[in-house]
């Protein structure tokens, strides 16, 4: 009997229209856990580096995490993996909501798509009954609209639907997959779904998911529940409110946006507006959110309320969470009302809330500076807000300049030329980043930005405070109940970290300490992504209910795999290294591992080199960032070493 997982994947060949139910090897679960871990193994085995993102041979994998569908609170994430058309590297965007547990209850851990459907289709899974159905009547429909239509058509209000909008159908490089309040947005995976001709996947399941040691497992869940209650009543003092509690940043609940609006950049990630926030704006924005917001809502089996349903006058209801609240507002230098209105359209089109506003602001800046002209953009409106709607419509239809912009700022700049590259200044590995520009280099963040293979800072940071606390007493207070640390030395790193002086950034924490800190933060994200746990209850916030000490128990009692901290760390390191191996094989090297040049004003080339050298060594990678043969063999990744040697990526020494 398989525990926590179902032990079956669906293999769908869209070119042939075939559907197979395939039993998986339990040894893979032991080695790679599930979710991201096993997805990566499949991509390594079956998608060689020659395969282009829009090739029928590229795979698109939807996976539930290992513990999804068990009572583990907040464990509801779908991990979607493929090769990104934008970065040309592995993309593994994720979404919360209700979809992954439903897939498990239907009896599957993953759906693996290969090939391409000649016509637009959707997949309908109802336990054993799996059908590829015609979706021609859904072409061009919004992502949320599509989900509603499919549920009506199937007469299954309890089906969970993940769908793409027009952007995915038209292979926009930052197209998302939408599912209620959640979306898998980063890396353009919606474009791969569109390229394969899949409009949506609807799933309904009524089967059991078993756990290995029921009483023990339930006790662990209850401990987590109790800790969440306690933590909700005890926010962390001394950090800004959105970092004090659990969950994804509570953007749908808070009204005070002084910190975001004055510290994040506006427009094309250029302008910092100190002194922007005032009483009048606060009053206006509060009213906007209060009147639009119908309810704060949760994902499956989670008591946090990170999302909200929003209804703006004259527009259909949609759902939102986190920082998409402000990305459109700030890119367009507008107000919250505009931001929430255009986000409704963007959600139906199915586009990423980070990249899209930035691409549009980039186009506006190019136009203002004469690099894009009326000839390139006939009919471009004069009104600022109308310009953003115009650009959004062009991009998702790939019409005119929209066809260029739909590739994202990096590729669009190359196509446009005339110095446009200078305007595509906020990418890492060709992927748009949060609009943040800071002063003093932070060595921890330097490493995370450079080496994070999710290429998104929020998906590697967490656990360790973003900045030192001013006073030692505050730090002592903080570390008192900081039991989540893997080792007490992390407490010392934090205790000694000062805002100024010898033990402050950029030279403290030391490169070695930074390696430790980054490795811990990254490890927790990778564990979440294999188990299907939401980062909001685990890797992202300070002092979360899930941590390196209780995770092994969850896996042991839940999946029946003997697990301890060391073994879990090793497994995580294994598939984390395998993600790197997929990317190394696709050409990623040290030269690609750098934050945007203007991310910090004060840069320290020698220190940065030392940081990266030290981190690579710490990880068992050579000076190019390639995992060494020794490292690979120690992780049971001998097959990767052989492949690397065969391709001349590593020398056989």
């Amino acid at each position: 009997m398989r525990y926590a997982e179902t032990g079956f994947n669906l293999e769908i060949d869209l070119s042939r229209g075939s559907i197979e139910r395939v039993e998986t090897d339990p040894r893979d679960t032991e080695l790679y856990l599930g979710g991201l871990g096993t997805n990566t193994k499949i991509l390594w085995d079956r998608v060689p580096p020659e395969v282009e993102p829009f090739s029928p041979d590229n795979l698109l994998i939807f996976s539930a995490g290992l513990l999804c569908g068990t009572p583990a609170i907040g464990c509801n994430r779908t991990i979607v993996s493929t090769i990104s058309p934008q970065t040309l590297l592995m993309a593994f965007s994720m979404m919360g909501g209700f979809w992954a547990p439903e897939l498990k209850y239907a009896g599957y851990d993953k759906i693996i798509f290969r090939g391409k459907s000649p016509d637009l289709v959707y997949l309908w899974i109802h336990n054993d009954q799996v059908e590829i159905r015609d979706a021609s009547h859904l072409a061009g429909k919004g992502a949320i609209e599509t989900a509603e239509l499919i549920k009506q058509e199937l007469q299954e209000p309890r089906a969970q639907v993940a769908a793409i909008g027009l952007a995915g159908e038209n292979r926009v490089y930052f197209a998302s997959i939408e599912q209620g309040r959640s979306s898998a947005s980063r890396g353009g995976i919606g474009a791969v779904m569109g390229d394969k001709g899949i409009k949506a996947i609807a799933v309904r399941g009524t089967r059991d998911i078993n756990v290995a040691r029921p009483d023990e497992y339930m006790e662990l869940c209850n401990e987590v529940m109790d800790y969440i209650k306690w933590r909700n009543e005890h926010p962390i003092p001394g950090v800004m409110p959105i970092l004090a509690g659990l969950g994804s940043p509570q953007e749908m609940a808070v009204h005070d946006e002084k910190w975001h609006t004055e510290n994040f950049m506006w427009g094309n990630s250029r302008l910092r507006r100190k002194g922007f926030w005032n009483e009048e704006i606060e009053k206006q924005w509060t009213q906007t959110l209060e009147s639009a917001r119908k309810r704060l809502i949760s994902c499956y089996n989670c008591p946090m309320k990170c999302g909200a349903t929003l209804t703006l006058p004259g527009l259909p209801t949609y759902m939102m969470k986190c920082f998409s609240k402000l990305t459109y507002t700030m890119a367009a230098m507008s107000d919250l009302e505009f931001g929430l209105r255009i986000a409704q359209r963007a959600t139906e089109y199915g586009v990423d809330g980070y990249s899209t506003p930035q691409v549009m602001a980039f186009a506006v800046e190019l136009y203002e500076d004469g690099i894009l002209t009326d000839e390139d953009m006939p009919g471009f409106p004069a009104d600022n807000e109308e310009r953003f709607y115009w650009l959004l419509d062009k991009i998702v239809r790939r019409e005119g300049i929209g066809n260029v912009l739909a590739d994202g700022t990096y590729w669009a700049a190359k196509t446009i030329g005339k110095g446009a590259e200078e305007y595509a200044h906020n990418t890492i590995k060709k992927h748009e980043q949060l609009p943040l520009k800071l002063s003093m280099l932070n060595p921890i963040y330097f490493l995370m930005y450079s080496t994070g293979e999710k290429i998104n800072i929020t998906q590697i940071e967490g656990q360790f405070p973003q900045a030192p606390f001013p006073k030692r007493e505050q730090r002592e207070e903080f570390v008192k109940d900081w039991f989540q640390v893997p080792d007490d030395r992390f407490k010392q790193y934090f205790l000694d970290w000062e805002p100024r002086g010898e033990k402050s950034i950029p030279f403290y924490p030391t490169p070695r300490m930074c390696c430790d800190i980054v490795d811990w933060q990254e490890r927790m994200h990778y564990i979440d992504d294999a188990l299907g746990m939401c980062a909001g209850l685990s890797s992202f916030p300070l002092k979360p209910p899930y941590h390196i000490h209780n995770y092994p128990k969850f896996i042991s009692a839940g999946a029946g795999i003997d697990m301890d901290e060391e073994k879990l760390t090793q497994a995580t390191k294994r598939y984390r290294t395998l993600v790197r191996a997929v990317n190394i094989r696709r050409g990623m090297r040290r030269k690609d591992e750098k934050p945007p040049q203007d991310h910090w004003k004060k840069r320290f080339p020698e220190l940065e080199k030392e940081l990266l050298d030290t981190y690579y060594e710490y990880k068992g990678w050579n000076e190019e960032g390639i995992p060494t043969k020794e490292t690979l063999n120690a992780l049971d990744l001998d097959y990767v070493a052989e492949d690397f040697i065969g391709r001349g990526i590593l020398k056989d020494e």
């Binding site: 009572p71 078993n210 756990v211 029921p214 909700n232 309810r295 994902c299 499956y300 259909p316």
Partner: protein, 177 residues
């Protein structure tokens, strides 16, 4: 006059305004009622279901009640504050008209048992949004009515068959047991 006895009335108060649609109630319910306890999970087996339609702001946890062999002669459909709820939305019955509150495989009816043996129903314990709260109160009830009913029945039988025959039958039935 009948004797007064005490009865514990168990009430789950459902505040739909506080429900955030997470369905933790379904999760823990299905786990608790698994055999062995907590060994499996399947909201399809839960004795509570959350009618959940975020786009129409519908969030209604409904508990499984009694099994009924036949469906009602007609169905109801409520509209409250402009929100239209699905047919028979608030009904607790496991009935032939729908698949709610039935074991997904066998079709056997499900019924909420308030998690007997636990301090409070687990759906309440797991609802951190406080959409579900639990109340217990004691009520004194008179058993008079039931006795009267029985007497009425017996009197009717005695008239028809004679008291002796009824007593004989009662004795025979008791011996059989």
């Amino acid at each position: 006059m009948g004797e007064k006895t005490k009865k514990v009335i168990k009430t789950i108060k459902v505040d739909v305004d506080k429900c955030n649609g997470c369905r933790a109630c379904e999760v823990v319910c299905s786990a608790f009622h698994a055999t062995p306890k907590y060994s499996s999970n399947n909201p399809g087996r839960a004795r509570i279901r959350v009618l959940h339609d975020p786009l129409r702001d519908i969030y209604v946890p409904v508990y499984a009640g009694e099994y009924v062999a036949a469906e009602c002669m007609g169905r109801d459909k409520y509209v409250i504050d402009g929100k239209e709820y699905e047919e028979c939305a608030f009904c607790r019955a496991s009935c032939p008209s729908r698949d709610a509150f039935k074991e997904p495989d066998s079709g056997l009816p499900l019924k909420c048992d308030m998690c007997e043996g636990e301090e409070e129903p687990l759906c309440v314990k797991w609802c951190l949004a406080d959409a579900l709260t639990y109340e217990e109160r004691e009520e004194e009830i008179e058993e008079q009515e039931e006795i009267e009913e029985l007497e009425i029945g017996l009197e009717a039988l005695a008239e028809k068959f004679g008291l002796d025959k009824i007593m004989d039958t009662v004795v025979r039935m008791s011996n059989k047991e």
